[in-house]
């Protein structure tokens, strides 16, 4: 009697456990269909093409909005909603020819008026705006007018040959102001839904102006808590594409089920030294630190070797703008580092703190490796993890830090990369100051000749390296795992997920 009672109870509990262990044999995600799931680690927030800044948002709406020009996976700037552009000699007037027969997602046709509205909105020139540009770089626009023949003329305050890359900013229908809630663009995919903390869904734009594109019916950008969560999801097969993996993570994946793509990310991982605090305001100390660091080991530890060593502020991915002559300037040389420290009067080293954002594993790991290497020259670095928000305020905005590790992203444009090193730039969080650099950066925009421009960029880079303004570590390779059921996925040298070329080749 009693036994039976207890037995039944036990059985009940056993069943519970059994049920638990057989959980989830329910449905496999990313099933046999014409859809794809992309894993993203940053919670999307802003879908307005003009106020969007965070890279994590851009990579999604890249599929929804299009600009007059558009980058391809090689980093080339190609005409998109504009068929071509005419730039005046002093580079103060850009005249675009608007492409015919493009339809917005809401069905309306693209015309000059839409472009004017969009550019004005971006430049903050609309009547209801206070004149501050939403897209900072377009602040120099004086006026935007529709010229006959479906042309649009953009007049600048001063000549600037560098601006074309910023006309990639999204074009929206005239008078439309609800981009955040319901994005409307001309891109290959229509915005379907946003489920906070879970996913963003976009669906095929059937009347996309490029015939035949896109191939997929539906793309889901799925939010993963972090890289490891994403990894487990990949392993579980509930994600098709997952970018920004580290190699050691990628190696854990089943080669038969996933292709591992890697590519320079045009990011610059920097061991930032606050140039305005003791003892880092001493150039010898900064050089010493540069010599103390072994970039190879950093890359090996953090990216498992998948990264390009840097000695200056620009990634080799920038092609000719990158100055190859600077390579190997700071090969690890502990003795030299010690000597420099001695010269600077720190023969027995010093203590220093490194404030890193805890949400970025790669930067934290880098800091750990650096700490261990700096110990060798007597520098005693203490690591302080802070959460992203705190990092942004304390380190980036208020510049209350000694050193930090972070990756600098930028558009695929040399000016955008170097712009922050002007002493007045808001992005100059390392407090770097060199009048020569300021002068050069001031001069560049007005110069039309590419060769001359490249030369000036090289000079800037040289100065940055000579001043050892910080320790440039690596251009971490973007490693993306793509399910073998998909093909046509291209890795861009910038923070972008282009799904328009992707097609399903079987399940």
């Amino acid at each position: 009697m009693k036994r039976s009672f207890i037995k039944s109870a036990v059985i009940a509990s056993v069943i519970a456990i059994a049920a638990a262990s057989f959980a989830g044999c329910t449905n496999k995600a990313g099933a046999a269909n014409n859809n794809a799931v992309v894993g993203i680690t940053q919670e999307p927030a802003i879908f307005d093409p003009h106020t969007v800044v965070a890279a994590g948002d851009r990579e999604i709406i890249f599929n929804v909005y299009e600009g007059l020009y558009k980058y391809d996976s090689k980093g080339n700037l190609n005409p998109c909603l504009a068929t071509d552009v005419a730039i005046s000699d002093d580079a103060s007037v850009y005249t675009f020819t608007i492409r015919e027969g493009v339809k917005f997602h809401d069905g309306s046709d693209l015309d000059a008026a839409d472009v004017v509205y969009s550019l004005k909105r971006a430049a903050g020139l609309l009547d209801n705006q206070d004149g501050t540009a939403l897209v900072q770089e377009l602040d120099s626009i004086k006026d935007v007018t529709a010229v006959d023949g479906g042309k649009v003329a953009v007049t600048l305050e001063s000549g600037n040959t560098e601006l074309l890359s910023y006309f990639t900013t999204g074009i929206i229908p005239e008078g439309y102001d609800n981009c955040q809630a319901a994005p409307v663009g001309t891109g290959p995919f229509k915005f379907e839904s946003y489920n906070p903390g879970q996913s963003v869904v976009v669906v095929k734009n059937d009347n996309y102006w490029q015939k035949g594109l896109p191939y997929l019916d539906k793309v889901t950008f799925k939010v993963c808590a972090d890289m490891d969560a994403g990894l487990t999801e990949l392993a579980a097969g509930s994600i098709d594409i997952f970018p920004y993996l580290t190699t050691d993570r990628a190696n854990q994946l089943d080669k038969a089920k996933y292709n591992i793509l890697s590519n320079g990310s045009n990011m610059v991982q920097i061991f930032a030294l606050n140039n305005s605090v003791e003892p880092l305001n001493n150039i010898k100390v900064r050089q010493a630190i540069n010599y103390a660091v072994s970039r190879k080991d950093v890359i090996s530890v953090t990216m498992d070797g998948a990264g390009v060593e840097l000695t200056t502020a620009m990634s080799p991915a920038m092609g000719s703008y990158y100055d190859t002559s600077l390579d190997g300037t700071f090969n690890q040389d502990v003795e030299k580092a010690k000597a420099l420290l001695a010269e600077a009067g720190y023969e027995n080293g010093f203590d220093i703190t490194c404030t890193v954002p805890s949400s970025y594993l790669i930067h934290v790991n880098t800091a750990v490796e650096l700490a261990s290497e700096l110990k060798a020259v007597g520098i005693n670095m203490e690591i302080k993890q802070v959460d992203w928000a705190t990092w942004l305020e304390k380190v980036y905005t208020n510049r209350q830090y000694e050193t930090t590790v972070i990756a600098l992203t930028s558009d695929y444009a040399p000016y955008d990369v170097l712009e922050r090193y002007q002493s007045t730039a808001s992005g100059n969080f390392i407090n770097y100051k060199n009048d020569k650099v300021d002068e050069l950066m001031g001069k560049i925009p007005s110069i039309a000749d590419t060769k001359e421009k490249t030369e000036l960029y090289h000079q800037v880079l040289k100065l940055l390296t000579d001043d050892a303004c910080s320790v440039y570590l690596q251009d971490p390779t973007t490693i993306t795992a793509v399910s073998t059921r998909l093909e046509g996925y291209n890795v861009y040298p910038m923070y972008v997920q282009d799904m328009s070329q992707v097609k399903v080749v079987g399940n």
């Binding site: 805890s358 290497e373 993890q385």
Partner: protein, 280 residues
């Protein structure tokens, strides 16, 4: 009612628990003590050329993704694990008793007030509290300890309060009051010693919970700062390698289990003894 020597009592069951507990805890404590003087390698020294080595002769516990010797790190980690849990419990214990005994003794509004505060802290997400502490005072072991102490204090306060309420009704307390002993002395000398039996197991369980909570905080980037490590932090760091380098997970986990299991056995022993001995 004949003479019975209860406090001399020691049940075989209890001593078995003590044995098991002390052995397990001993392993952890000894590693800790050794680590103070000697570790095979420097626990923080990275070596890119020796990454993720499986356990072998020169690295008995293998190496991690920085090429650091896991054995050395485990030894070093024992320090933080023990330090944090012990100090945290100490704080929680002090706060708890100081708040709980008066609450139980005086009752009324004092009681209401203290318990109200306690409850609000209890239903306040500990992680958030920890984050605040860390955000305000910066991420450091000290602050983690304070955060833990604060989060755990209410539980101790509850134990003290309930115990005090029972004890204060007993004749010897009344007697003390009649003899004119001052309240604070009654609480300190008459009541507190009799709370110890109830506090001891609670304390040990507290120690165990602390280590778990601490590891949880490390998982979220609070807690111990790299390159230092606690068992919990090692576990959270290495979870991504659970497939490729299980030894990164196994050894810290083992130590953690030893530590907590040891503590539990000891508390079990205490409980059994008190249950057998302390009963009226």
């Amino acid at each position: 009612m004949e003479t019975v020597k209860r406090n001399k009592y020691r049940s075989p069951e209890a001593s078995a628990f003590y044995m098991a507990g002390l052995t397990l805890l001993g392993i952890v404590v000894i590693t800790f003590i050794i680590s103070l003087f000697w570790t095979p390698y420097s626990p923080d020294a990275t070596d890119a050329s020796a990454k993720l080595l499986a356990p072998c002769l020169e690295h008995p516990f293998g190496t991690d993704n920085f090429g650091r010797d896991v054995l050395s790190r485990v030894m070093a980690a024992s320090k933080y694990t023990i330090y944090i849990s012990a100090a945290g419990v100490a704080i929680a214990l002090i706060l708890g008793t100081v708040a709980g005994i008066p609450a139980g003794y005086f009752g009324g509004y004092i009681d209401k007030g203290i318990m109200l505060l306690g409850n609000s802290i209890m239903c306040f997400p500990g992680i958030l509290l920890a984050l605040v502490a860390v955000a305000v005072f910066g991420a450091s072991v000290g602050n983690v300890i304070w955060a833990l102490g604060l989060v755990f204090a209410p539980t101790f306060a509850r134990v003290c309060r309930v115990g005090t309420m029972e004890i204060k009704e007993l004749d010897y307390i009344t007697h003390a009051r009649v003899m004119g002993v001052k309240p604070y002395r009654i609480m300190a000398m008459h009541i507190f010693p009799n709370l110890v039996p109830q506090l001891l197991p609670a304390t040990v369980i507290g120690l165990a919970n602390m280590t778990l909570f601490e590891s949880g905080m490390s998982y979220l980037g609070l807690g111990v700062q790299p390159p230092d490590a606690s068992f919990g932090k090692m576990l959270s760091d290495s979870q991504a390698y659970i497939r490729v380098a299980p030894w990164l997970v196994i050894f810290p986990a083992l130590m953690l289990v030893f530590y907590i299991l040891g503590l539990y056995f000891i508390s079990e022993g205490l409980r059994v003894n008190l249950a057998k001995g302390g009963k009226r």
